[in-house]
Structures are given as C-alpha cells and as structure tokens.
C-alpha cells in the first residue's frame, strides 16, 4: 500500500470540502433544500404529510417516510447516467429513508406519508450523504417534528491515510483501492443512523474513521441549521 501524504485538492486530512446549503429553493414543495459539498450538488423536495395510496401501505400507528434518490443523466463525471431507477438508486433510497427515520416523529399522521425526493445535479463522490443532508433541511423546512437534523458525509482511507470526505479522485485512488465509508449521525446524541463501507479496512482504522466523523459532525450540523435560519432572516 502506497503512502498518501498530501490530498489532491490540498485539504487537511480531517477537512471537509466547502459546503453550501439553502432552504426553501422549491416554492411549490412543502419543504425543500439545496446542499452542495465540493462538486456534489443535491436538491431535496418534501411533499406531505399527505394521503397514502395504495391503502395496504398505510400504517395506522404512524406516518410513513418514503425517499427517492436519483442522479440526473448529466450529473456523472463523463459517462451519461442512464435515467430511471436502478439497483443502486433503489438501495440508496432505502438507506436514506433509514438514516432519516430515527429522528422523525410522525405519530400525529397515521395512515399518511411524507415523500422526499432527492435529485443530484452534479456528483463527485459522497452523493448519498449530500442527499441525506439536503433531505434533513427539507424535512425541517416542511415543519415536520424531528428531534435533530441528521448529518451525513463520508470518511475512509486513501492509501495508508485515514481521511474525511473523499472526493471523486480519492475514491478512485490506485485503481479503486481506497475505502469509502458513508456515515450518518444524529449530532445531539452521537448516534449513527447510516454506516456502509466499501473496501478493505482494519477494525482500528474503522474506529478512527468513526471518531473523526463524530468530531466533524457538529460543524456540518451548524451549516444545516444556518441554512434554515437564513430563510427566515429579518433583514
């Protein structure tokens, strides 16, 4: 394994790419958000709570969360992304839902559904995490009861170095030998709602990665909160 002494874009090993977030970008939606991290851009729109059909999907105890993740055809690096649902987008829709569900309180909305649509206009690694961050802001913007905003970004290992927030070049480092771990956290409790991993990594390094993620989470959380507050800024 070769050594990785300096990051391609000059960041520190525990530094995230520049983040930009905005709430309320889609006026017709009940809640919406834009979230950009480096060259990855996500839009999320929330509709609902609203009636859920077909009826057999309804849960009489609480409302349901339904997420949809989609990469736009022109969003990838070079190759055209084939439009429509795929094995990958279906998986990411599901893990987005599971990452967000623990913070939501939908007991007031039995038999109803909250729909979240995440669209990626530009992707350069970390798209599922960007989608979760955007969805977090959008859900709060829709006025849904939630105990915290879920934050998500990736951690991992490039060469012999543990890093935060891999970009596309790092993900493809030395014929895809790097390790990519998307992680979702509830900042107020430190609980993990999403943890996937791609590649070979030792248990010690995984612990290091998670610790780094927990250290970075409050900063990302602050950006999400600021986006929501800016929508209602008085001046």
């Amino acid at each position: 394994m070769s050594s990785y002494t300096k990051r391609f874009d000059g960041r520190k090993f525990d530094e995230l790419r520049p983040i930009e977030a905005k709430a309320g970008v889609i006026k017709k939606a009940d809640g919406s958000a834009y979230f950009r991290i480096g060259k990855t851009t996500a839009y999320a729109a929330v509709y609902g709570p609203r009636e859920l059909y077909p009826k057999f999907l309804q849960d009489p105890k609480q409302g349901l969360l339904r997420c949809n993740y989609n990469m736009m055809p022109f969003s990838g690096a070079g190759e055209r992304v084939r439009p429509g649902p795929s094995r990958r987008s279906k998986e990411i829709s599901l893990i987005t839902e599971r990452a967000l569900r623990p913070v939501l309180d939908l007991k007031d909305f039995p038999n109803a559904v909250v729909d979240v649509f995440v669209e990626l206009t530009e992707t350069d690694a970390g798209s599922r995490c960007a989608g979760i961050c955007a969805a977090s802001i959008a859900l709060a913007d829709a006025g849904i009861l939630m105990k915290d905003l879920v934050v998500a970004f990736s951690v991992g290992k490039v060469g012999d170095q543990v890093v935060v927030d891999l970009d596309g070049d790092e993900e493809h480092f030395e014929s895809n030998s790097s390790v990519d771990i998307p992680i979702g956290l509830i900042p107020s409790t430190g609980e993990i709602t999403l943890l996937q991993a791609d590649g070979r990594i030792s248990p010690e390094d995984i612990r290091k990665c998670i610790k780094m993620a927990q250290e970075r989470a409050p900063a990302v959380s602050e950006i999400l909160r600021k986006a929501l507050k800016e929508k209602y800024a008085t001046e």
Partner: protein, 266 residues
C-alpha cells in the same frame, strides 16, 4: 452555562439547544434531553414563564374539533359528501349535518352540494386516526357562491386573522370584499375583481412576512398605497372576528352570528 440560550420570538431549528438546566419546562415543539431542552420543530420560540414552546413556521393542517374550515367537495357518498380540507386527511359531511332542510331518501345529493364546490363547515368530530366529521349546520356555515379561493399555509392563519380579527377586518374595510379565512388555510374572497386582487396580494404579503415584527403597520401602509384610502387599525370585540373563527367582519353576517361571536369573546 445554564438558563435560556435563545431569545423569545427567535427562530429555532430542530436539535437546537434552547435552554440548559432544570429551570424551564418543555412544551409543544420542544423536548428534554438530560439537562438540556432542545427544539424538535422549525418555528418561533415562545417563552411563557417557565414553559418553552414553539410556534411552527411551516406544516400541514391537523384537524381539530370546533375549527371552522373551508372544504372542497371531492366526492358524493351514499348519505353525504367527502371534502378535501388542505390536510393529509379528508372529511365527511353527513346528510344529517348538511342542512336544516329535510332531504328525502334517494334524493340527488348533487343538488345540495355538487362536486368542486366550496363549503364553510365546522369540524364536529376527529378520531384518533384523524377521520373527520364536519357539519354545515350553524351560523355562518354555508356553501360558497362566487368570489375566489386561495390557499395559504395553515400556520399563517392566525396572522391573517390578527388579534381579535384586526388584520382581516382591516383588509375588509380597505377593499370592501367579503373574506372568510378557514383554519385549514383556505381563504375565500368575494368582491370587485380589482379589489379581490389587492386582497390576494395582501394575504400573500402577510404569509411571507408573518414572522417579522410590525406586520399590521406594514399591511396598513400596503393597503393605503394600493387603495389610496386612509386606513385605521381597529381592535375591538364587536368589529373583528377572532384567532379561531373565520367570519371576521360584521358585514354579511347571517342570523344568529352574534351568538356565535359572543361565545368566543375573551
């Protein structure tokens, strides 16, 4: 650090720490996590003595008993109508609650309320599963004819009505339009077409600026500029409606409406 960390009437977001220590109590939209009180909804913080609660800035309408709402007829059932209420749940208007008139068995129900029509109704019952029964029997409750219908965020309804109906009655006086604001965020406006447009603009302005102080004065200026009239802000019991009832002004009030208002007067 203990005590309140956010000022009263400030915007809070989910997860934000509002207070530390055991001096405050969490209420609607907040929760306690060990010695911290955090927000669980986007909204304006209200400090009421020791109690911390949140006035939501967004969200769908949740039906509550005795709310007066405007519904749209979306279906005709065997003995009643189904109404859409700008909410995740639909309501049923039962035949016996629909009219004081005798409706014969097997009558053509579309003669009373037809599809696509709007009706002012009152919610008489809500179940745990949010099944809603509404009634059209009562003062001010009726089918709407003419005018236009707009939809606003249900959270902004108290702002549109104003303290004891001050806002809605001001808009009425300025434009001469009939206005009914349903608690569910459906607003009916009837008057001169150009005046109706002024009302729509005013309501949209209220929606956008509801969280900023001095709203009534800004709307007063807006209406004065639009109509060229001098408008006063009146706040009293007899003229206006209330935070919880539509039927803001004194005009076009049907028989029995006085009673209907007096029970609400604080």
């Amino acid at each position: 650090m203990t005590g309140l960390l956010v000022q009263d009437k400030n915007v809070v977001v989910p997860g934000e720490i509002i207070a530390e220590g055991m001096d405050y109590l969490p209420s609607y939209g907040t929760y306690r996590q060990q010695d911290k009180i955090r927000a669980s909804q986007l909204g304006l913080l209200t400090v009421d003595g020791k109690v911390l609660k949140i006035i939501p800035l967004a969200g769908r309408y949740l039906p509550r008993r005795n709310d007066v709402v405007i519904g749209k007829i979306i279906d005709i059932l065997i003995s009643g109508w189904r109404l859409e209420l700008n909410s995740p749940y639909t309501a049923v208007l039962n035949l016996k609650d629909a009219s004081f008139d005798y409706i014969a068995k097997g009558a053509d129900l579309s003669k009373y309320f037809n599809l696509e029509e709007y009706v002012i109704t009152k919610i008489v019952n809500v179940t745990s599963q949010n099944m809603i029964d509404v009634s059209c029997k009562g003062p001010g409750l009726r089918k709407l004819r003419g005018g236009r219908v707009i939809r606003v965020s249900p959270c902004k309804v108290p702002r549109i009505i104003g303290k004891r109906g001050s806002m809605v009655s001001m808009i009425k006086r300025a434009t001469g339009c009939q206005i009914t604001v349903g608690q569910n965020g459906i607003v009916w406006i009837n008057g001169e077409p150009d005046k109706e447009i002024i009302v729509v603009e005013a309501v949209n302005k209220i929606q956008q600026e509801a969280h900023i102080q001095g709203l009534t004065e800004r709307i007063q200026k807006f209406l004065e500029a639009k109509t060229g009239m001098k408008i006063e802000i009146i706040e009293d019991h007899t003229e206006g409606g209330s935070d919880y009832r539509p039927e803001g002004g004194s005009d076009y009030r049907p028989e029995g409406a006085a009673e209907y208002h007096s029970e609400e007067s604080p």
